[in-house]
Every structure is written in structure tokens, then in C-alpha cells.
Symmetry: D2
Subunit: 337 residues, 4 copies
């Protein structure tokens, strides 16, 4: 952290700042110029509150130099992390393809979709049991029953299952039944939920919040790693912009940026990013071209009658086609599906 | 809901849409022009999924006419709601002034601040016990101990207390000890938490999410009212914009818009909106000038040493001055502090 | 400007950075800590290109300490600037009230509105002659004819006129006929236009761009002052946010922020900020409560038949009422209308 | 356009709306339901001002059904447009690769870069002569001299040149010397400039504004086509979001959306979108994967000493590598470089 002092200030102002830094157990370094005067802090400043310096006499600005996250940072873990899920790997040479419907609607629906996506090459099955819906009057998911159907589909296909967790009180159930716990975009800063999954050792798929910066996204992931759970997969799923044609705007640049800053694997969800089924294929191709470690795709056997997100779901036929196109792109990066 | 059909479509496409509407138990009305063809649905469309129409053959667009909320709407409750809290009213002639520190730091701190803000005319005491912090390494609040100190400060001053609830498992504790349950901006769409407080009859102060539209804000409130709890106070606390000088951007227009659309009281939090103590007074004046039903102000007896948000906290002296300025504005609207 | 070096870098990297700073005629100051190494530049860095340092070996970040504007800054001109227009002042005790229709539609319309707004207390007449319209098929203004009508209305009422300039080739005409040249939001970074009005000594009313930060807004104003024209009035007119109920979102905090950073007067346009006539009055009250130096209000004698922006125009009757409410707020700040 | 009437309104309100529609020379179609009443307009509504209906008694909302653009729309021109530039095509099978430095700095610099990018396979040379810079104190370009150097580099390499035009008074010069006139992001809604280039028949490369929606972008292009110039190439160059790591955020989805809505070719500028040289290659690959018709890449022979945008410029070596990677992606879409 760097404190910029006003140049018209008093010497005792700078002294007070330096004393405060020393009181925090940190060291001081100082540089005085003609038109500015800066005081740096040396040591671990991750728990220092910048606010407390902003109010001191003579202080003009407080500038952060260090990122607010540590365990998530590539500085502390230079190699790519590879997350292991039931014998499969996420973050390695093989891309992780997670596919399935927005919501589990019936035993036959989820099983049928699971069989189809497996046939097309998906490695993981997604499906919503407890659904976060904007309106209290929308379908809220089949809940525990939905989970049971997912377990059945897993039994049939052997695909590990990825399910969104919405509250701490269901965590025990998820630990027993689910292979990857998903934390949704709206809960990216639900800190109690992050702390709770940080206490488990289950793989966690953390989605980026609707208007979160990459730094906030990584700092949310830090909550999970700080709890001791290093099995975190990050998912870019579109951010809110002024554009209204698409549901969100896929931030494709987030992939190389996150790969630069962090060792955690990053996947892309083109279904939520666009909200439009015919855009899923080109965006999936772009995601793999830019270097994503995997994809999360909504697939529904009957999108027109889906209980949720039908417009962004591709059919099993289109999913197969998408996989073929994506495979060609993956090859360019020497990666497999 | 209005379905816009492509004009180059087939007659059977429109027939399929009309059949689907009738199947939903709704009535159809239709208007065919030279360059468009629209099909309207008549009846309660609040639980109809627009997505399911978007995918039908020949459909170009689906346009929402009705708002996604009902109980929150002024259409269903033309009079202003006045929320009663321990004999005090929010939403009536008298403005609700909620003041206190970001975090409870000690028994003496919260009690001292409580006495000061009461003296200056505040009607309610705020204070954080469980804190939602962006970084896992920041001070997370005194938790249960903090609640105890708030109860003590309430005993001394008789000020009802407003405290943020972060997870469902603490709800019982809050029902017993807290007068107004605050739901923070980051939890505005934590639907499980909204449903839980909807089951109580405690007043709930719901803060607008960082990048939520007013419609989303009101639809989040609908979750609480749909559970049967009509004691909801809305709080505009600044939204995220490209501006970096202030912490957030106060959306002052939200006040008249919400008063138009809804019967619920609306208060403004200029401390979080700006993040800068010297802006709190002018923004508080603007908020009352625009018609807010109250204010939420961070006051700290020693901002320089505050454990959280010191830079946006005013001292008791400045709070007193602010109250005097705000009182003059309130008078113009025939309201009292 | 501060250069943050990587701590795992080589000594010669820092040497190269220091040499480059010295080559630019600036001085170096340096602070080396355990986990960072910073190199500061001493001297006038306003024309130094940060980009050229970012690419040097061992450089991690380049941090700006100084603002990119000078003449606009309150540091260089501590007193408030008061702009003189035909004997009237903007930025002094008396608030500047600029009122009139979006577009000049006819001689009688503009003259009638001018008489009405003058009667209600406005000090300046606004009216569009050349109109920047989103669609090429919308009414583009009466152009030169519109200017003539404005001059006639000015003759009748003695109100100075404020008219938007859209291109350099009309500047000579505006210098002769117009009292305040308005630069619209969409042209805030039309640098050639800014340079051109910077060469005149006419008062310029510069509107904030739709998604401009305050720093960008002030830096755009710097273009005008750098040309030698110090007669600049800034106008906050709403920024783009995710909210769709209002046309834009009034950034009320921009007023105290700009007053802190700059000596230039700041006025507020609640008509464009909201786009809704019934919101103009409460927002105007908020603007004066927060400390604005004036208001720009769209007034139309027949909003229902206005050729442009009818929905955000108030009638002369409503304008009179607004002026009465605003006068009460102004009194609290010891200001007059 | 659809007018939604309040259901509690009077019959004469609807009559007034219908009369107004008929007065405009349009036809009416009407649908009355239990809880809404909608009135549609039949005919060409592109010049109808929605505002004038919003203020009528009993009107609740005005909803646009038609897009505000026509000539730009794929509805009016179902085939892809292919723009011809000095015998080369943009929008056809071969991707348009435009490369070169941000600014022309000297005759040798631009010529050297031109030779290098041609060697690597670029089809067009870019270079700035008149530069739009945020600060008045930054390098503003070599102006006419820069144009001369570009012409020289063109003579040597035969690459057509793409140069940004900032004001109408230089248009004649550009018509004579430049092969593609670029309109920059900050001038996307400089309507006078759009009208002026609409009067020529020169190919125009129009960049998307920093916070423009796709609809606004296409409507800006409509200004040029409405003037009779159909030679328009659209360029996605990143939009403003809350993310600060990158300079802007590449909206990759804009490519398929624009291809769906319009017949005009779309290219992508990953250099401005990211602002970071090492991100240019992955983003270029993503852009071609998603279906872009070309790329605009900043290439500089000595980025560390570039007078502008050095940090986002790739070296000729990196450009060659980028071309090789992009070629592999293009092949998947059966396109060539």
C-alpha cells in the first residue's frame, strides 16, 4: 500500500502516518519529491484497512499495489491447478465439458439428456434442483426430488454431476450426493456460503457475479481457498452491460486475464452469457479458441417446453454439432475434448 | 405479454401460439397489420415463461407489458405503506433517521455513538455484528457479542436497532433481538434469505443490489411480501457505475420512481453511496429534497480508528450539523425529523 | 507517476527505468521494500506516456498520482470561477436558470416560451436549432432558421441564448449570434470541436458524456481551457446505467465532486437526466440541495405536440411551480434564483 | 409501434390515440383484453416520435416493435454485403486483415511496418495521422505530414490505407488520399461527420462507441447508408464495463448478433479492446472463431518507444505468429487470410 501525502502538508502529518505503519508491525519506505511525497508500507498489508489512512491529516490518496487475494494468485502457485473429480481432471489437457438442462424436470428427462450428452462427448452432467429465480412466481425447481433424479442419471451414465447450492443448510446433502458444487452468479458474494464450501473438500464451481470485476471474482474464490478447499473451478458466464440483445455479455477476455493472474482452471458458460441458443455454438468456439479449460452448456431434449431457460438451450443434435466444431478448435491448442 | 409474429410466417405458426395461450388458461387477442402481426395474452401472465414462446416457429419477439411484481405494486395498494417499528413509524410524516457505526467494535463504542445520535435526533440505531467483507482477511464483525452490545445500547437509549442478517441460520436470533432486519446489497437476490424473512413478520430493510435495476429491486421485495411479510422498507444505497471517485453512484431518481411504482417506504444511504464522509451531508440533503422517507447514516465516534468504513463515517458533531441542514429541507416538504 | 517494479526482477531493469525518467528531464525518487520496489517521477508528468513504461522489463504496474488536467483544477485556481454572460453571472450567489424547448419549432413557439420562462424567473433561454438525433429519420431541427427565431426571442425578452453547436463550420455563425455555446454529451470528446471553441472567448456549456467519468469530463474541459478560453460551465445531464425506467441516471454526486476538484461552475439538467416530465421538479430540488450552480430545464408550451423530447418537457405552469419549490431550497444555501 | 393504454382509462383517450395515428397517415389495429388494451400502428413508423404518444391521456407505455434502422438491416438486404476496396473485398471468403501502428511517427517507421505486415499477410495498412487523444497535452499526430508518409508506404507496398477522419473539413483531403475512412469510437454519434461521409462513396470503417448498444451502432451506420454510401464496414473494438484490468471489454457476441441483424461486414479490433499486447493473439483467434470478417491489429516496430498505445501494439514477429494461429482458425470456417 502506498500513501500519497499532500505536498502542502506539515511534517508531523507524515510522521503520524509513519508511526501508524510501524504500529501495525510493518516497515516504512519513503520518497519525497518536488510535487509529491509518498510513503510505502513494507510487509504483508492484506489485512490493513486502507480507510483508516485516508482520514489522516495530510493524506491525499491511498493506492493499493498488492492484489487482495493470495492463495488464488499464480504468484503463490505458478503451475496450473488441475482439479480431480471422480477420476476426471479439470484444468489439464482434456477440456471439461459440462452439459445438461437448466432444471431437472423429471426422471426420464434428465436421464435422457444425460445419455445424449454423454454420447456426444460431455464429461459431466449439470442440472438444477434448487433454482434461483428472479420472480417468486417462477418454477423453483424439483428440489430434493430433482437431486434424486440426478443421482439416477449419474448411475446410468457414470457422469459426475454438477448442481447449484443455494444455502448452507443443504450443504451436507450436497456433500453426500453431488460431485461438483456450483455457486451461482447471484451468490458470488454470499460470504457465508463461500465460507461453508471452503470447509469441505468438494470441488466447487464458482460463477462470476453479474457485475463483478475479475479482482472481486478472484477475491470471492479466495474465501473458499482460505477455508482450506483448493478445488475451485472458475466460470465466466457473462456480465451485465448496456447491451440488451443478449441476456448478458460474454467477457471473453476474462479467460486469458484469469489464466495470467491465477492458477485455477477457468471454464465458460456461453448459454447464460448469451441467453440465445443459436449463439451458443459460435461463443463456445471462441471460448476454446481463447484458451478456456472447458465449457458449460445447457442442453434440453425439448427446449420449447423447458420449464426454464428454454431459449438458451440447445438440442442434443445441436450439441453434437457444437462438440464437433469445438473439437477442431481444441486441436489447434493441442487439447482434447 | 405480447407475442410479435414474423410477417413472413405461416398461418399455422400463429395458430400454434394461440393454442398454447389457450392451453395456459388465458385468452387471446390478436391484431394483424401490413407489417406486423401481434398476439396478446389476456389474464394473469405473471407465472407464464416468456422463453417458451420465443422458440416457437414464426415468433419474432416476446414483449412484457405487466411488471413481474404484484404485492409490491402501487396498483394493488394505492396508499403509502407505513411500517410500524416498536411504536415508531416509517413512511409517514416523520422521516426515519437510522444512524450508527458500520461495525459494533465494543460495548462502550456502540453505546456512546447511540447516545450521541439519539441526542442529535436519530430514531433508530444501526450497527453491524456479522459483516459481509469483500476480503476473507478483513475484520468480520464481533458476531453474537456485537449483537449483545447493540441490545445494551438499545436498553440505554430506547432506540430500535437495525442489524444486517447474512444467513438463514441466524434468523431466530435476529427475530428475538433485532427490531429491523437488514438484507444487504450483496444478498438482494439471495432468494433463500428473502424467503426466510418473508416467513417472519419483522420489519425488513432491503438494500438495492449494486447493479440491480429498480424492477429487479422491487421483484426481490416481492419475494418477502409473497411470503406474507408486508413490513418492507426499501433502501437506495448507490449503484455501480464507471465513476471511480465515489465508491458507488447514488441513484437519486430511484426515490421518485419507486414512490411511483410501489407503496413501500424508501430511504437513502448516502454513506455507502458515496464512501466519502464530506459528501454525506449534501447527499442527505438531496435525498430529502427528492422525497425520501428517511436516511441511513454511518456515524462513528472515532472514524480514523474505525475497524471498517471509517472514510465514509461522519463524527457525532458532523451528524448533528447534517441533521440541522436536513431538517430545513424536510420542512419544505412539510415533513419532520 | 509511480512505477512498481517486480521484486523478482534484475537490478538493470530498475536502472533502465530510472535512465528513461532522467532522459525525460524528470527526477527520480525510489523506495525499495521487501516485497516491492517503487520508482517515482518528480516533475511535470502530464505529457509523459505511461504506456512506454509498461512495456519495460521488470515493470509490474504504472500508477498515476497526478490528475490529467491542470487549468481546470482547483489546485491551480482555488477560488470559484464566475462566468460572465451579457452582464449576468454563472457560478456566483445567483443560480443560473436556463429554460426553453428542446427544439425551436416556430417563431411564435420560441417567443412564447421565452416570455413564459422569463416571467417565471429564468435567466437564460435554451433552444435547439441544429439537433443531434439518434436516427437519421428524426426531425433534425430548423437549423439557421431556428437560430433566427432564437435571436428574435432574445430581442423580445433580453434573455441570453444557449444553443448547441454540432460542427466547427458553424462556429463563426454561433460566435456572432449565440451567448453561450453548448457542446452536447455525444460531442464531449469531439476533440476538434473542443479545440475550436477553445480558440474563442465565448462562454461554453459543456455537457458530460453519457458514460464519461468525472475525470474524463474535466479533461475534456481542459481542451477548451488549454486553448485559452476559461469561460466554461459544466453540466451534469445524467449518465448511462442499467436502469431503463429513466432515460439516463442523474449522477447527483458529480456536483460536490466537481466543486471539490475544479473551480468551474456546475449546473444540472434534470430533463435529460430523467427523460420524464414529472421527475424534473424533484430532481431540480435535489440538484440545488446538493449545491449546483444552476439548472437547465426543458419547457414547452405544448409538450404533447413537441417535435422532440415532449415527454421530458414541463409546461410553463409546471415550470413556475418548480421555480417556487427550488427557490425555497436555494434559500437554505443562501442563494437566489 | 404499440401503444399500451391504461385499462382504467376513458374510451375517448383511446379514440384520441387512434385519431392521432390516422392523422399520421398510418392505420390502426387494436386489441382489448381484460387487463390491457393495446393499439398498434400499421405502416412505416420509422419517423414517428414515440414521445408524442407517451404524454397522451390514458397511455401507459409505448413499445417499439420495429428497429430504428432500415438500409442497414438484413431484412432489406438478405445477402452479405461485400465491400470493394481497390480490387480487394471485405466481407467475402477472404478475411480482411488491417494492420499497422497507432500513429504514423516517421516515414521510415510507417514504411518499415507496412513492409513487415504485408510480408506476414496483412491486406490493408492502418496508421493514425490526426489522433483523438483524451488529454490535450498528449501527442496529437503528425497530421498532413503523417498522411503523406502513409501514401508513401502505400506506394511501396500497394496496401490500401485506412486512416481515421476526425472532422468534416479534412474530408476532401481524405477522399483524395485515403482508401478506407475510419470513424473512431468517440465520433460514432458525431452525426455531422456521419452525414458527410454518407455523401461520399468511399468505404467507411465505423467503430462502435464505447458504451453504445448494437442497435445504436447500427443506427449510426444507418446515417451513412441514408446518405447513399453503402460501403460501410463495422468494427467491434471493445466496450466500457466495470473491468479495469483490460482497457475495454471485447464484446465478442456482437459479431454473431450483427451478422444476424445486418448485411454489413464486421471486423474486430483486439488491440483497443484489450489494451494489452499479449492478449491480442488469443482475442484475435476468438474473433475469427466466432465468425468475424476480419481483424484490425496494432503493429509497431518498436512498441517500447511508440508515441501512442505502445502497450497494446504487437511486434512484427508476434504479428506473424498471430497470423499463423488465426489462419488455422479461419480454415475451420473455410475462410482464408
Amino acid at each position: 500500500m502506498i500513501i500519497v501525502m499532500r505536498t502542502d502538508g506539515e511534517a508531523r502529518d507524515a510522521d503520524a502516518v509513519k508511526d501508524k505503519i510501524l504500529d501495525l508491525g510493518l516497515e516504512v519506505c519513503e520518497a519525497i519529491g518536488v510535487n509529491y511525497h509518498i510513503i510505502g508500507m513494507i510487509g504483508d498489508t492484506s489485512s490493513v484497512d486502507a480507510e483508516s489512512f485516508k482520514l489522516m491529516e495530510g493524506v491525499e490518496k491511498v493506492i493499493h499495489v498488492q492484489e487482495p487475494y493470495k492463495r488464488v494468485s499464480r504468484l503463490f502457485h505458478p503451475e496450473n491447478s488441475v482439479i480431480s473429480v471422480n477420476g476426471l481432471s479439470i484444468g489439464g489437457e482434456k477440456l471439461a465439458i459440462i452439459a445438461g438442462p437448466c432444471s431437472v424436470e423429471s426422471k426420464s428427462q434428465i436421464t435422457e439428456v444425460a445419455i445424449e450428452v454423454k454420447k456426444a462427448g460431455a464429461g459431466f452432467l449439470r442440472g438444477g434442483a434448487f433454482k434461483p429465480r428472479t420472480s417468486p412466481y417462477s418454477f423453483q425447481g424439483l428440489k430434493e426430488e430433482g437431486l434424486e433424479y440426478l443421482k439416477y442419471a449419474k448411475e446410468v451414465t457414470k457422469l459426475p454431476i454438477v448442481v447449484e447450492l443455494m444455502s448452507v443448510d443443504k450443504l451436507e446433502l450436497y456433500e453426500a450426493d453431488v460431485d461438483i458444487i456450483q455457486i451461482g452468479a447471484r451468490n458470488m458474494q454470499n460470504f457465508d456460503l463461500l465460507k461453508a464450501v471452503g470447509q469441505t473438500r468438494k470441488p466447487v464451481l464458482l460463477k462470476r457475479g453479474l457485475s463483478a470485476t475479475i479482482e472481486e471474482f478472484l477475491t470471492a474464490a479466495e474465501y473458499i481457498l482460505a477455508g482450506g478447499n483448493e478445488n475451485v473451478i472458475l466460470c465466466e458466464r457473462g456480465i451485465r452491460t448496456f447491451e440488451t440483445y443478449t441476456r448478458n455479455t460474454l467477457d471473453i477476455s476474462a479467460v486469458p486475464v484469469i489464466k495470467k493472474l491465477s492458477h485455477l482452471p477457468v471454464i465458460v458458460d456461453p448459454s447464460h452469457a448469451s441467453g440465445i441458443w443459436w449463439m451458443v455454438e459460435p461463443l463456445a468456439m471462441a471460448a476454446v479458441a481463447v484458451g478456456a479449460d472447458g465449457l458449460m452448456i445447457e442442453v434440453h431434449n425439448d427446449p420449447k417446453n423447458a420449464l426454464c431457460d428454454g431459449n438458451q438451450s440447445v438440442t442434443p443434435e445441436n450439441f453434437k454439432r457444437l462438440m464437433d466444431r469445438v473439437r477442431e478448435i481444441a486441436r489447434i491448442h493441442n487439447r482434447k475434448l
